[in-house]
Amino acid sequence: MKRFLLLLLMIIFPKLLPALETASAYKGRIRPTEAYARLWLYDFYHNQSIKPKHAQAFQATSAQELLWKMNFLGHSPWDKAPLFWIHYAKLKQILGLTQSEDYFSYNQLSQALYGDKESNLRLVKPLLAYQFIKAYLDPTNRSRSEKIELTSIAPGLWLKWVDNNIIVIAIPQGVFWKFLKPEMVILSNAPKQLSSYLNEQRMITEEALTLISLIQQYEAIAPPPTNALLSTQLLPLQHSKQSPKEIALSLESQFPLRERIEKSGPLLKILPGARGEWYPLNALHLQTYDAKQNTLVAIPNFTLFSDELFVEIRHAYLALKNDLSEDNIENLKHLLQKGYEALEGKPYKQATNKTLVYPSITQLQAEKFYYQYPLIEIAIVLYAMGLVVGALTYAKHPNLTFTLLLIAFVFHSLILCLRCFILQRPPVSNMFETVIYVPWIAVLTGLLLWLKYRNSTLLFSAAFSAIALLLLLKVSYLSANLENVQAVLDSQYWLLVHVLMVVGSYGAFILSGIIGHCYLLSYWKHNKETEENKFLSKIILQSLYFGVALLIPGTILGGVWAAESWGRFWDWDPKESWAFISCCTYLIGIHAYRFHYIHHFGLALCSIIGLMIISFTWYGVNYILGTGLHSYGFGFGGEIYYYGYLLIEVLFLSFLSIPKRIQKLGV
């Protein structure tokens, strides 16, 4: 399978395949260093590559170049570079930053965060008030204690209520809290509705905490560690005539080697160690005490590489440290690759019933490929081409449109396969993946039905749904990154089948919904039921059947899975409830149609109402119902657009269906 995929890739993109790539661990996954560098940069810069206008300030043109340089030089040469992306206007206002700018340097931000008393307090006060009120209202605060230590963000920082004010009692060390004083009022005249205060302040608090954490991450970036402390400690020990063994023990107790390795740098965790741990490249700069020679020597092998290769790598590292040239980086990377080749495919972490293995180099290459090219955009363009060509030529060459859309579909499949291959799981574990998967099913259904019915509306609707949903991906803030799946979803085969079926049914429903629109438009145009329309309604029925045949068994399978895993078949959880509501909506429609309560027009109407319900099940449950205390990060105004869609849909339906009724009455 892997070979096949690689072959496929090679055929389609012979020149695009990236060169070999080194592996490194970042945020719990082993990734190609290229992907790591891009994601790392994105965290600060909100872009995976450096914009040309910033290249000079960054002294680098790519994320990787910046990463390697910063690893050796520490952060200070970049303190003036506009590395930090802040978009939230309120945060900029609090920090006293220019509203029209989006990029800020470390120097600007550190000055605003803890150089300037006023802006520091403007930020810190609401931050603390928010955390305090949250802790105060938390159900674990059973006795409604009014004196609380903010253990989550600042252990040692105590606040209390005095009448309606929040007041500081105790302050820990730390740059962010240095302007606080005991008895300082953090929030005066707290509003009565504390929970609505929390809702108002949640966004700014989260943004501020993210920024603080980024600044702290940035500050931790330092040049390779020196061994000066170790050598200054060694001298008196040697003079005091202790035996080498005693010296070794004493030094180890003061400077435990494991800790020194782990803390030798926050960047480039590129050296694989035992038990799946990865160590920073800069650990190669460390020295250790050697009892035999009674002196400091370069650190011995602590990686999974062979001893000979380790020595080579260390030499290459030291050469690179002295001269940050492209050749030296390539040389070091080459050696690291050589070491990694011996590891690929081997297990590194064992749990009951499952094992994590080092990804193969092919997987790493595929991942690098995934990040390097705008795959989704290409898919959109391919679909759009199919749509445009189809609109112009379908009447003469229907097969041409089909072929073009088939090519787009194959490319679309490739994106899904790529994700499957890299992550070794079906692509339905997060919102981003489902938004790729659903149009894929819609197009698949469309193409299959076209083969049977040869109706142009099918192809156009399929292409339209694909373009619309893929465009939605680009304008939304959904993360396209390749990440680990949550432990609770990392599970059996049946869960996957359940999700694939239920989410797949959305594709079929979307297709039927779009055809439903076509039906209504055509009905409105001709003002009566045409033969073409009857045919459309047949297609609608078929795709509804297909959807329902996926949705109902899929939902019940979810119940079976829940019964197997949690011991309850059904619990009216919001997602379950809305799956039930969707099932019911379509069942009403199908029953009404089969028993002749409604006809073609009603079926088309039902497919559109069903589409609205499905959209709520898919999006609304996560993003609108979820807008409680437990879901942040969703919908920067996403809800507004969604409500907009619903409103337009309702207007559309009333516009098209009311005249019909009036007409009927008139007859």
Binding site: S143, S145, D490, I556, L557, W566
Partner: protein, 724 residues
């Protein structure tokens, strides 16, 4: 009549009824999801929708509609097959769910690593756990009369209840009385202004309690009220008290600052150096020429603020202080008497604060004497000045240790840089020439430096005037600008001494006059940096701890109930009676049934308001629980627990590792599912929650129903035409 019945039968099995039912259920569920989203409470939504009788009625309507719709097609024909299959499947699933609801088991089990359990609890149930020394029973709140079956003589009545409450532990102070075992209850004064000239008389046992938010000020005024200073020699002094008290950590560095004769000293009031006189105006000259001792009335002081945090203070008879902070509802210790039947207590330990400054200094001298004696006995080498003294003492038949200590102590009290007293005659010729020369120079210079310093002048200026060549090196040593920081004078003098020694060869000789001779020994000691301050050992005097104990009780407070019903803790008040006595007891719901059981009716019974527990035929023991993370991150990859599951009927055991989504099922259908592991840190002892469930209908109805329904739907949609 038959016609109506028949019509009704067809209506019940008809599609219009079906569409009505599906639409109404759908509306109900939509309302339910929005209610749940608004209140963040599944139980709140369930109360009005999913658990509502009307909703149940609709579901039963479903059951009847599906059943009748099938029966209506009697006699069945070939074309009915898909329809019948689909609707049989639906009926089977509905039936399976109903049977699970009425006859299944679904509960939770909390186990701590190393322990085990065979009881599971139903999280949303409310029962009263009653036990005496012989038996135990769970009584449903709705049928309190059932208590008779287990405890025939006991009567329990519900006297009141509220939907939400909080429970607060009360220890030393309850209402307006304070309690300590072995003492009569003492009064608690309500004070809002700490400076009020209150007419509070401390009783003979010196325990005093307040309710006030002015904790530090109040404690301070109580302390000062009984404080007396004993100054030797008797000179007038000014003093001020710096309590340095933190509401979070208690005393930090409390001290009494004393000023007299242009000198300042302070007495730490807390810690190992408490009550030692510290010279801060001229620390380089040793002690000040006067000593201060404190006299205090020994007092135990309790102050409770309105947030129910309790601050305990102890003031010793010599003025030493001690404090302890008890946060409300965080117990520092818990004792149970006779497993709770005789109640609970909490404890407080504090040092008796009986040592005076004199005790501490004597202990220090004692320690110094011992170490010198021992050093001499073992023949370890003494530093040159002490060796010189030892030889002189030998010659004059004096006790070296006593002489040495007396000399150093005397020097310390003399308030001089160089002490001018020497008892035995020393053999100065034995000294190396440069050291002797240095000592002479010191004897000349130091008195002058001292007089300079006492006037508050910078002694480096003096050196500059005298064109001391190395003054720049000294300047480099100090951090502050002129005049010298008092703290820096000592180190600078030492550095200057070393400079003198290092260039003594270049210095002109000094006429060894008799005037200078008495100063020589002190100079020699300084050259080796030996002063009383430096060599004085710090003895750690342990004193016995005093233990106080008080009865632990709870106070219950009515709270506004939250819309999120899951967060509410209901409170009940029970009237209890047996043959001989009556009792009233208020209890707040104990969510996990793990808290204290409270004694009632003079300790005959224990009572707890908790969820319902039932026994299952398996005993589950948790051997080890762990969270395995992805590489270099705290993102969990797997949660796992090693369990030993023993069948209580035949005592057979299996060892099983369960993980998230990987359950263990016994042969008779009990399933164990790992719901959570806390805390996530690697080294802590873990507690896990296991969901235990038993579904009798699963394999007979629910799962086959699901398969049949799926087949039915496919047949119904795509095969019907072919069949007809």
């Amino acid at each position: 009549m038959m016609k109506y019945l028949k019509n009704f039968y067809h209506f019940l099995g008809g599609v219009s009824f079906a569409i009505f039912l599906i639409s109404s259920v759908t509306l109900f569920v939509i309302v339910g999801t929005f209610l749940e989203s608004k209140t963040d409470s599944h139980r709140y939504a369930a109360l009005y929708t999913y658990n509502h009788p009307l909703f149940a009625l609709l579901l039963w309507g479903f059951f009847i509609n599906i059943l009748f719709s099938s029966l209506r097609r009697w006699p069945f024909k070939c074309r009915h097959i898909p329809f019948l299959i689909t609707h049989t499947g639906l009926l089977m699933i509905l039936g399976g769910v109903l049977i699970k609801h009425y006859y299944g088991i679904q509960g939770s089990m909390g186990i701590i690593e190393g322990s085990g359990s065979h009881e599971i609890f139903y999280p949303e149930s409310y029962v009263l756990s009653i036990e005496n020394q012989n038996s135990k029973a769970y009584i449903d709140l709705k049928s309190l009369g059932d208590v008779k079956a287990v405890f025939p003589e006991l009567k329990v009545g519900l006297a009141g209840h509220t939907p939400h409450s909080s429970e607060i532990f009360e220890s030393w102070i309850k209402g307006n009385q304070g309690f300590i075992y072995g003492f009569p209850p003492f009064e608690v004064y309500q004070v809002s202004d700490p400076n009020l000239p209150f007419s509070v008389t401390t009783p003979d046992w010196n325990i005093i309690a307040f309710q006030s938010d002015q904790v530090e000020d109040l404690a301070k005024s109580i302390y000062l009220r009984h404080l007396e200073l004993d100054v030797t020699p008797n000179i007038p002094v000014n003093y001020s008290l710096d309590f340095d008290f933190s509401l979070v950590e208690g005393f930090l560095e409390p001290k009494l600052v004393i000023q007299a004769q242009n000198e300042t000293m302070y007495l730490p009031l807390y810690g190992s150096e408490a009550l030692i006189n510290k010279n801060i105006s001229t620390p380089y000259l040793g002690s000040l020429p006067f000593t201060v001792d404190l006299k205090q009335k020994p007092i135990l002081l309790f102050i409770q603020d309105h947030q129910n945090d309790l601050y305990f203070f102890a003031f010793g008879r010599h003025g030493e202080v001690y404090s302890n902070v008890f946060r409300s509802n965080a117990l520092t210790s818990l004792m149970s008497y006779d497993n709770g039947y005789l109640g609970y207590a909490t404890q407080l330990k504090f040092p008796c604060l009986s040592q005076s400054r004199w005790d501490k200094e004597q202990a220090s001298i004692h320690l110094l004497r011992n170490s010198l004696d021992e050093g001499i006995k073992e023949g370890s080498p003494l530093s040159p000045p002490l060796e010189l003294l030892r030889r002189a003492c030998e010659k004059n038949q004096l006790n070296f240790t006593e002489t040495c200590i007396a000399y150093l102590a005397d020097w310390n009290r003399s308030h001089q840089l160089l002490h001018s007293k020497i008892i035995p005659e020393m053999d100065w010729d034995a000294l190396p020439e440069n050291e002797l020369k240095t000592c002479y120079w010191m004897a000349v210079l130091f008195p002058e430096i001292q007089s300079h310093l006492i006037q508050g002048k910078d002694f480096l200026e003096l050196l500059q005037e005298r064109e001391w060549p190395l003054v720049e090196q000294l300047q480099a040593l100090r951090q502050s600008t002129a005049p010298c920081n008092i703290e820096e004078i000592g180190p600078l003098l030492t550095a200057f001494t070393y400079q003198l020694h290092s260039i003594s060869a270049q210095l002109p000789s000094i006429n060894p006059s008799e005037e200078l001779k008495p100063l020589l020994f002190a100079a020699y000691l300084r050259l080796y940096n030996i002063t009383y301050d430096v060599i004085q050992p710090q003895p750690t005097l342990t004193s016995n701890l005093i233990e106080l104990e008080c009865p632990l009780t709870t106070r219950h407070q009515k709270e506004t109930p939250s819309e999120k019903l899951e967060d509410n803790l209901p409170m009940i008040t029970l009237a209890l009676a047996d043959e001989s006595s009556k009792d009233i007891r208020t209890l707040t719901y104990d969510r996990y049934g793990r808290g204290l059981k409270w004694p009632i009716l003079n300790g005959k019974y224990l009572l707890r308001f908790q969820p319902k527990y039932i026994s299952i035929p398996y005993h589950v023991r948790l051997h080890h629980a762990r969270q395995i993370n992805y590489s270099n991150s705290s993102q969990p990859y797997s949660f796992e627990s090693d369990l030993i599951i023993t069948d209580r009927r035949d005592h057979s055991s299996v060892e099983k590792t369960i993980s998230m989504n990987h359950v263990h099922e016994t042969w008779d259908g009990y399933r164990f599912y790992l719901a959570s592991i806390t805390p996530p840190t690697e080294n802590a002892v873990k507690q896990i929650q296991i969901v235990v469930n038993h579904d009798p209908a699963k394999y007979i109805l629910t799962y086959p129903g699901a398969i049949i329904l799926t087949i039915g739907i496919i047949l119904l949609f795509w095969l019907k035409k072919d069949l007809s």
